[in-house]
């Protein structure tokens, strides 16, 4: 996903700089000077107009192919995940129910506790393995967002959506609600702790 970001940023920078130059150049080169005669009154150039329609068309075609491939990777759902977690979002907390394992979660307790670790609901994931998340919301729309994973998915009442997380780095990461859900939206935080597969099994056993 990061590679998709980088590719788009590179294309964006190139297109941006070229068009910026095309805007600024005439402003300098053909600024009005005293005694200017009326400039040439041309208003069409069909080959040029066709070119600046077709070339961008080809470019967005390329961007689409790249984005289609990237999305196929991100959205792929494994048939044999190492763990399955049912995630329920509610005002204003999270419940993580591991299939055949523990159910953990809670609320991070209002605005005063911003960033405070105590009482923070914690999602534990095994490193290098696939965990399937089955996400839904109990009351209003929420969003399950882990900024360090460059990923979010909406949690919507009345429907379950499934996606895979396959973390590649050990450590703890911040998770949060992304969709405005009421007065304690900004404090609807959770923590993602990525541990080794062995530690994950031990954690599951200890909590079950």
């Amino acid at each position: 996903m990061a590679s998709n970001w980088l590719m788009f940023l590179a294309v964006a920078a190139c297109v941006g700089v070229i068009v910026l130059g095309l805007i600024l150049f005439p402003l300098v080169r053909w600024r009005r000077r005293k005694g200017d005669a009326e400039p040439p009154q041309f208003a069409n150039n069909y080959p040029l107009e066709i070119a600046w329609t077709v070339i961008p068309l080809v470019m967005v075609g390329g961007l689409f192919v790249a984005t289609y491939r990237a999305e196929a990777r991100v959205d792929a759902v494994s048939d044999h995940p190492a763990a399955i977690v049912a995630v329920e979002a509610y005002r204003w907390g999270w419940t993580f129910a591991y299939r055949g394992g523990p159910t953990v979660g809670g609320a991070s307790n209002g605005p005063a506790s911003l960033g405070v670790a105590q009482g923070m609901p914690e999602l534990v994931l095994p490193l290098g393995e696939t965990t399937r998340i089955e996400l839904w919301a109990a009351d209003v729309d929420h969003g399950f967002w882990i900024p360090d994973f460059l990923f979010k998915r909406d949690a919507i009442p009345g429907q379950t959506t499934a996606f895979d997380l396959s973390p590649t780095k050990l450590g703890t990461f911040e998770g949060r609600c992304s969709a405005f859900c009421g007065l304690q939206h900004e404090s609807m935080l959770f923590r993602v702790r990525v541990v080794t597969p062995g530690a994950f099994v031990a954690w599951e056993k200890a909590r079950t």
Binding site: I23, Q41, T53, L63, T67, V140, D154, A179
Partner: protein, 545 residues
């Protein structure tokens, strides 16, 4: 108006009329398109002022982490009212006001097709907006579920207050006003053109308003129906969006964004028109690629009907690749417009009066907004950027850096035509400088905030990391913008006091509104020049020379 005598002018039959009145009652009862247009413009600017002050309060709250200037409920009301007012009561209605004033003048007509319907649409718009703001006076305050009002958050068991109902009723009234005024625009352009004014000679602004109006016909009925469904859910036992009874919150997403994305183009196509009018005048050249610009407008309008679900990439229930592809495609006709404007400046003789400065500001800002738009059309990027400050930055670059700059360009460009006096150029240039710097200082840092993980619609954030610094910079920028807007108000007052009169055509412009006096008489034209191209006033100038 001496210029009409020496060309073979087509005389317009004189109309029997009383002397023009200027008292308050004459403004309240007016059906004159120019007065309705000015009422629309001033009302939308008033809503802009209020909405701008709301945003300054939000930026003040966000200037420091864990700030207590506002609480969560106040902040939620502010961002709901700010978004609602900017979208429904300012950016779109300003375009309708401009179109009301300009369309009959640009096509050589005496008024709109349905003058009384025109007045109706203005009053519906004015009171619709007031009804939305009235919510702030109720016990539980104004609506606080965002301008998108996603249920179940906006359902009665969560949003219990009257403010949400007033929001529904107010926005409904505005949507009816929008549909009605669009019917008027299309009918006027199709039926009321002067002799010689074929469809392929009408000014680009008028063309853009035709495309805009057709979009309104398709999008706004969906909004009105969706608002009614929510009202039925709240008060008449409906369950359209309630999953417990077989309804679906996703249904709202579809119906709302089926309106909501075309609405984005309702808020930008008219301003593409404004830029297409201003750039040729200050480059002393005809608009480049007239046909291409018109076709691009309709391509954008058509494609915009098929991209609504790119607001729903993260729901996991829509066909992301399809909506990504159509969203990417919109970049092509938008690019065509950009290249046409650049080609219009190419080898021209470019001068930098205030309207042109704002038009250049539009090009530079909209370039960034357009590029981030293409990025957001890629679902894997949207998975990070959706609902974050990156999106906030993106749509402010489109609607603030784009539409707002075109609005100021239009104000400076057509002010002499509306009021017969010119705005001060020095104050105008300072106004542009403050707005351009202030805008970019405010919104450029928001891209980074979003990628770092700051969600939109939070009333506070944690200390630590770069977020506090970035937010402080953004708040600082918003105060600079405020100074720029204040300078505009000063300019308007100064120009009204000094009253330096302008002739019919202070900019040496091209289209018919510059043929008649400033301000135009009640029946618009004493005479018309021959209309042989999309630049009749230029042609008449050349014929005279």
């Amino acid at each position: 108006m001496g210029e009409s005598a020496d060309v073979s002018a087509v005389a317009v039959p004189a109309m029997p009329e009383a002397a023009e009145r200027h008292d308050l009652l004459s403004w309240l009862t007016t059906t004159d398109h120019k007065r309705i247009g000015i009422l629309y413009l001033l009302t939308s600017l008033a809503y802009f002022g209020v909405s701008g002050i709301l945003s300054l309060m939000m930026r003040t709250q966000l200037a420091r982490p864990n700030n207590t200037f506002l609480d969560a409920h106040q902040y939620a009301q502010l961002f709901t009212l700010h978004g609602t007012a900017m979208i429904f009561l300012f950016v779109a209605p300003f375009a309708f006001g401009l179109a009301n004033f300009l369309i009959p003048l640009q096509i050589g007509a005496a008024d709109m097709a349905f003058p009384r319907l025109n007045a109706t649409s203005y009053w519906l718009f004015l009171f619709g907006g007031l009804v939305v703001f009235l919510g702030a006076a109720t016990n539980e305050g104004a609506a606080a579920s965002g301008w998108t009002a996603y249920p179940p958050l906006s359902e009665i068991r969560v949003s219990t207050g009257l403010g949400q109902d007033l929001w529904i009723v107010g926005v409904f009234l505005v949507s009816v006003a929008t549909i009605v005024t669009s019917i008027n625009f299309v009918t006027t352009v199709f039926i009321f053109r002067a002799p010689g004014m074929t469809m392929w000679r009408i000014p680009i602004f008028t063309w853009e308003m035709v495309a805009t109006s057709l979009l309104v016909f398709m999008a706004f009925p969906s909004l009105a129906a969706t608002l009614l469904l929510l009202f039925v859910d709240r008060h008449m036992g409906g369950h359209a969006f309630d999953p417990a009874y077989g309804g679906s919150p996703v249904l709202w997403d579809h119906l709302f964004w089926f309106f909501g994305h075309p609405e984005v183009y309702v808020m930008i196509l008219p301003y593409f028109g404004v830029i297409s009018e201003i750039v040729p005048v200050f480059s002393r050249k005809p608009i480049f690629g007239y046909t291409g610009l018109v076709l691009a407008a309709f391509a954008i309008a058509g494609l915009s009907m098929g991209v609504w679900a790119h607001h729903m990439f993260t729901t996991g229930v829509v066909n992301n690749p399809f909506f990504a592809f159509v969203s990417f495609l919109i970049a092509v006709p938008t690019g065509v417009k950009f290249f046409n404007w650049i080609a219009t400046m190419w080898r021209g003789s470019i001068s930098f009066e205030t309207p042109m400065l704002f038009a250049i500001g539009f090009l530079l800002n909209f370039l960034i907004g357009g590029i981030t738009g293409v990025m957001l059309a890629s679902p894997p990027i949207d998975y990070q950027a959706h609902d974050s400050y990156f999106v906030v930055a993106h749509f402010h670059y489109v609607l603030g850096g784009g539409s707002l700059f075109a609005i100021f360009a239009a104000l400076f460009f057509w002010w002499p035509k509306m009021f017969g006096v010119k705005l001060d150029e020095t104050l105008g240039k300072w106004c542009f400088g403050l707005l351009f710097v202030g805008f970019n200082v405010t919104f450029l840092p928001m891209h980074f905030m979003g990628v770092m993980g700051m969600p939109r619609r939070v009333f506070t954030y944690d200390a630590g990391g770069p977020l506090p610094t970035l937010n402080l910079i953004a708040t600082f920028g918003s105060y600079i913008m405020f100074a720029g807007v204040a300078l505009y108000v000063v300019n308007a007052i100064v120009s009204a006091r000094t009253r330096i009169p302008v002739g019919s055509d202070p900019w040496s412009a091209n289209s018919l509104e510059w043929w008649t006096s400033s301000p135009p008489p009640e029946h618009n034209f004493e005479s018309l020049p021959p209309i042989r191209s999309e630049r009749p006033v230029y042609d008449a100038r050349v014929a005279r020379a």
